[in-house]
Symmetry: D2
Subunit: 138 residues, 4 copies
């Protein structure tokens, strides 16, 4: 499972002194995009090709520990489930340090959409293969 480590920056934090929840979800998506690119599936190329879309149909997140300015955060990305026409990405965020703390788990359910017909379609074989490579370690 690819893990991306990043620092919490000044403008990640909100007026309550912690990373705003929707910013945590944006960070999760950034890590998903980096993990996909690392698997040879650039979202930019996919969008430019214009045949397949992978819109989110659902997202959820559980927050157990705040992220603060300067924290080093490890973001582990996996493809938790692969269905016929959709897949679920899970990103686990952990604050690093002497005692690492699980901070948040974000899930994104993506549908596979035929952009010509604007209707759902089965995941193409090459996309399925790349997602399989992101399966969680047993």
């Amino acid at each position: 499972m690819p893990t991306i480590t990043r620092r919490v920056l000044l403008n990640d934090v909100d007026a309550a002194g912690v990373v705003f929840y929707a910013r945590i979800m944006a960070i999760a998506h950034e890590c998903y995009e980096e993990a996909m690119a690392g698997s040879g599936l650039g979202l930019d190329a996919l969008i430019r090709a214009g045949r397949i879309g992978l819109p989110l149909v659902h997202a959820d997140a559980d927050f157990s520990h705040p992220l603060r300015h300067g924290d080093q955060v490890a973001c582990s990305v996996c493809c938790e489930t692969i269905g016929t026409k959709s897949f679920t990405i899970r990103v686990d965020l952990t604050v690093l340090g002497a005692e690492p703390r699980a901070a948040a788990t974000v899930r994104q359910i993506h549908a596979c959409v035929d952009m010509d017909r604007l209707q759902s379609m089965p995941l193409p074989a090459d996309l399925r293969a790349k997602l399989t490579a992101l399966a969680p370690v047993a």
Copy 2:
């Protein structure tokens, strides 16, 4: 239920030509904050007072229709459930037009936290009263 109507702006939209999912969740929170202020509960005053925090412990969203640049979006805010130590905000986003389209539903579960002891606490009576005023219309 307070409803806030806003236009989708240039920088709300991402490279796929629709509003990025975490931006939809941020918009939901902005509407929650406006609705709370309209009920006399300013999050800024709450944070400055420093006694009570209302961090999110969970968030989820279902997306059924994309939001596009220039869309007028009605955001209805309600407090769906009020527990002893937590409450759930629901924001329904609808694209306005000749045929209004339900676009997304966002849910935020907020815990009530004693900021001195950093542990959960029962919702104070005045906060409970203001949340009750945001209850969904039957």
Copy 3:
């Protein structure tokens, strides 16, 4: 000159407890977009038509007073100068209250670009007319 008043929200503020400078510039652009729409020039329609682009070639800002969570901010938008192939938008942000405080001035220089040839072009007459309506009050 159109003036848009908005509240500083939780996620407008950064770890230093004030609105992050690039967020101030984003707010200025949001107000420019609203002012243009109010003049009958929707940026969304302009982009969809695909013939003319109005990219920024320069931006600058002076910051004289911080914006804090809960502040009510008046944002006055004007078109300060209209050239042959470019125009300058100025947005003045003022924190409202018993003693209003000038907080920031943002300037955006937009070029007019022929999107087919990808080169600068003179401002079309109808765009020029709408920008003239945004001229500063003498």
Copy 4:
């Protein structure tokens, strides 16, 4: 001069298909923060200490080439000038590729502020030394 290379991600891009100008300025600040941390000056520690603030008093940017989804962008950070009570950070963004293209130059003028007296103060010697290490290569 530290150079940070980053990919342009889905949510960096706006409805016009390029990175929104204020997002470019935010990216510049993110690179400044990373460069400062690399020089041993964490903005998070500075803010927590609460004695010195480094607010922006001015920012400007010139944009010469758009940033698009998937672009690899090199961001070079330097401290262009060091005054008695202020300093200027310059970030040059270049789109990498067979023919690298200069895309934007962002300048941030930071004042040094005594947070107790809320007035400008001379740059402390250790901060000055760290900024000197970020001076542009002749």
